[in-house]
């Protein structure tokens, strides 16, 4: 097994912009301060740019506790206010089982098995939204 790299002191979470969707990849063990900052960064990005969806990839995350759960719920609530959707993707089964027992229901959070599924989910919904005048969507 390769040695798990310690998280960098100030934390680092890659955020990728794919059209109107933000893909956020969480990995390893996050500092509370990193999770806090992520919430702020996502809020700013969603309000500044025309982001319609946020996908949070949790496949590399080994635990979600009540703190992280609250950050995820907050992100979902915030993006909803900004007329965008959040989907959490790839949660590990052990994490999901633990969350249920912990009693966290994560209100407002939608889940998908993979980032691909999450993107499809958001893409499908974005396509179904009435488009504002001038906005055009090329079909491949």
């Amino acid at each position: 097994m390769t040695g798990e790299a310690a998280p960098p002191p100030d934390g680092y979470v890659p955020v990728l912009r794919l059209g109107g969707i933000l893909l956020v990849t969480l990995q390893g063990d996050l500092y509370d301060s990193t999770a806090e900052r992520l919430r702020q960064d996502i809020g700013r990005t969603v309000s500044d740019d025309a982001v319609t969806g946020v996908v949070i990839d949790l496949s590399g995350v080994e635990i979600v506790d009540s703190f992280m759960g609250r950050v995820l719920s907050d992100i979902a609530a915030m993006t909803r206010l900004l007329a965008a959707q959040t989907v959490v993707a790839g949660m590990r089964p052990a994490v999901a089982i633990t969350l249920v027992e912990l009693g966290l229901t994560l209100p407002g959070l939608r889940t998908a098995l993979s980032t691909e599924e999450a993107m499809n989910l958001l893409g499908a919904e974005v396509a179904n939204l009435p488009r504002t005048a001038g906005a055009r969507r090329e079909r491949p």
Partner: protein, 146 residues
Amino acid sequence: MTHTESVSARLPLTSDLDLVRARQHVRQMTAELGFSLVEQTKLVTAASELARNALVHGGGGRMECAEVTDGGVRGLRLVFSDDGPGIADLDQALSDGYTSGEGLGMGLPGARRLVHEFSVDSARGRGTTVTVTSWVARPPRPREGS
């Protein structure tokens, strides 16, 4: 019932970084003891909740870990302690959704559900000590030689 203890460790809980270290330490110990992945995740999550409570509500504290055995079954005992303000109403603190801050109020009751044994010793002005223990489940019968 007699438990024997060994391999103790004591970790400070005074910063964000300490929470990460505490989780990693529990993860490593549960893995070495042979806990299943789900049981590892449960104990690490419970530890994260209790360590954060000691840090946030207790103003900092420490985590002590010890391997325990009872009649051939091995387990891990974690003791979280702080010298903070203590908990005046334990029943209230242990009920789902109660928070004196801005949390979800799920940490303490949730941690209790995630472990096999759980006890809190606290009173107003006397600090808080939470002790949890989980045991390694008997592994399912192996399917083929391995």
